[in-house]
């Protein structure tokens, strides 16, 4: 356990070095945040929506921009894929740790590093905007606590999914295709395009059976009060179940991959 923690810290420090990337990221996030705000302002002035209010959507938009790196599914780590392709993975297998959890920690630390770099400036900016576009404070202290718990559990779910994408490259050596399919489906179903309550009913029903909406959507709505405290607590249980399922499946798949792993050259 100490090893994993130390590794998390080391990787976090490495991740925090990339300041230029962070500045570029912040600009992108602010741009999109602003664009979404204008879009929803126009939308809400013509439509009547019961599922989620304008204020809640604005809060939703800014939280998503602040935590974008945490919830976005993508190939996090070209290095892991590179290790698999080049065979450097051999070294990892010579270490007394569970390679699944080791990489899990690595992906997680990357996500946290990026988020730590980006979220703070986005928060500051979003709190200072004119009231129409401003990020609201959490609806209650309890909601804030639940928001923090669910966003952390959500990050475990993203990394669980991300790990599956990385492990698949043991079999295919190329997982960009699979990653982009999962990223676009997952993106829509986790509310990255529009908040889940604004999706067509069919899709809303689908999201109930998939882990994606538990990644960001539910947390953002807990923050603004769109989801009540009781449902929020149920969300946590649901998240835990998905974390267990994803990690279990990942472990299984990786074990299978390692049995047929073939390392050439060198």
């Amino acid at each position: 356990m100490r090893g994993y923690l130390k590794y998390f810290k080391t990787e976090l420090m490495v991740g925090l070095q990339y300041k230029a990337a962070a500045i570029a990221g912040i600009c992108t996030q602010l741009f999109w945040g602003f664009l979404f705000c204008l879009l929803y302002e126009a939308f809400y002035s013509y439509a009547n929506v019961d599922a989620i209010t304008y204020r809640e959507v604005i809060t939703y938009v800014w939280l998503m921009q602040a935590f974008f790196s945490l919830i976005y599914i993508k190939i996090e780590d070209a290095e892991i894929i590179g290790k698999i392709k080049s065979g450097t993975v051999a070294y990892e297998l010579c270490r007394p740790y569970n390679i699944y959890f080791w990489w899990f920690v690595r992906l997680l630390s990357r996500k946290y590093a990026h988020t730590l770099l980006k979220s703070f400036p986005v928060f500051v900016f979003a709190f200072m905007l004119p009231s129409a576009y401003r990020l609201s404070f959490p609806i209650s202290f309890e909601a804030l606590i639940l928001f923090i718990i669910t966003i952390i559990l959500g990050s475990f779910i993203v990394v669980g999914i991300s790990m599956l994408i990385h492990i698949i490259s043991f079999f295919t050596l190329e997982s960009k295709g699979i990653a982009s399919i999962i990223a676009s489906i997952g993106g829509v179903l986790s509310g990255m395009a529009v908040p889940v309550p604004l999706l067509p009913l069919v899709l809303i029903n689908i999201t109930k059976y998939l882990p994606f909406r538990l990644i960001g959507d539910t947390s953002f709505r807990i923050y603004s009060g769109n989801i009540g405290i009781i449902e929020a607590k149920q969300t946590i249980i649901l998240q835990l179940i998905w974390v267990v399922i994803l990690i279990g499946f990942g472990l299984l798949l990786l074990n299978k991959a390692l049995k047929k792993v073939c390392l050439q050259g060198g």
Partner: protein
């Protein structure tokens, strides 16, 4: 039972085959053809504690595959393997605490962080106590002259510096067995000598069992006398390097520098390669005539000032050996 015991080890790889061109590319989308390659074919050997063993063979012979199976990375298809009382693949996590590994072409250090941070990380991974860590680290740093490199990020090290750091990293947790897969690849002469000196030192001081693969025969010659030669996945030879030399090189080259020679003696079993000013170089076939009798024949007719016996270059011998086995 031996410290490392390998019995009838087998490993096959399935390699996808595809003809060239667009047509074949489409064909292989639907149906793939595979070729089975026997990377390791019924290999057995024993290694005792504290030995240094050179594991040699041409490219693609199955060296690295064997090493990877010994490290617990690859699962063998059949055969039994016991290393320090463990089954490497089955008991991987427990087993790997006992081994150190250096793959010359790959890096185990973290690219973006200083060497010392990599060491600290390894300390946590292997759960090394502070006291033991400091002791081992100081010893390794001194032996490998790493003082000035410790705070440099790995990506800024030269290959020679990196290799020294790699070896130190592989020994931090005091492993009982060290696997070195081409540790001197790409190194300059000075770094090579350094690495060799160090491997010897570690073997002597800590009784670390070393298994070494290399294409550089001078590495092997400098470090060990026991070699295992494999080719096409099969074990061809297991014994001393001197044994190989005897088997595949019957010749010695003799250089004699003399004074006052009137008539060059004609000696059966020798061939004059070069003759110059008071100097002769001959190839001696030691199956026909001993070196001492050749020298004696010369002393009979002249004053000898100096004699050099030149052994055949080990690389040439290995080439002969590979040819002998039709590799």
């Amino acid at each position: 039972m031996s410290y490392i015991s390998v019995k009838h080890l087998n490993k096959e790889f399935k390699v996808a085959q595809r003809g060239s061109g667009l047509k074949n590319a489409f064909k292989s989308l639907i149906k793939r053809k595979y070729k089975i390659i026997k990377a390791v074919d019924d290999i057995s050997f024993d290694i005792e504690k504290g030995e240094i063993v050179g594991y040699i063979g041409p490219n693609g012979a199955g060296k690295s595959t064997t090493i990877k199976m010994l490290c617990g990375i690859l699962k063998s298809d059949s055969g039994a393997m016991k290393v320090a009382g463990f089954d490497p693949f089955k008991d991987r996590v427990k087993y790997v605490k006992n081994i150190g590994v250096v793959f010359g072409q790959k890096s185990q250090l973290w690219w973006d962080i200083p060497v010392i941070d990599s060491f600290e990380l390894l300390k946590s991974i292997y759960k090394i106590s502070d006291e033991e860590y400091n002791k081992t680290k100081d010893e390794l740093v001194k032996l490998l002259e790493l003082e000035n490199l410790l705070s440099t990020p790995v990506r800024q090290l030269s290959l020679g510096q990196r290799m020294r750091a790699e070896i130190a990293a592989s020994l931090l947790h005091n492993p009982k067995i060290l696997f070195l897969d081409e540790p001197t690849i790409g190194l300059d002469a000075v770094s090579k000598l350094e690495v060799r000196r160090f491997i010897k030192e570690i073997n002597r001081k800590r009784q670390v069992t070393v298994i070494l693969t290399s294409h550089d025969m001078t590495d092997i010659e400098a470090l060990t006398n026991r070699v295992i030669v494999i080719g096409h996945g099969k074990k061809l030879y297991d014994g001393t390097l001197t044994g190989i030399k005897k088997k595949f090189s019957s010749g010695r080259r003799l250089e004699i520098i003399y004074r006052d020679l009137v008539n060059e003696p004609v000696i059966k079993g020798t061939k004059i390669i070069e003759k110059g000013n008071n100097k002769v170089v001959l190839d001696v076939n030691i199956d026909e005539i001993s070196i001492s009798s050749v020298i004696k024949k010369y002393t009979d007719v002249c004053d000898i000032e100096d004699v050099n016996i030149i052994n055949e270059d080990i690389d040439n011998i290995i080439v002969k050996l590979y040819k002998g086995y039709d590799l």
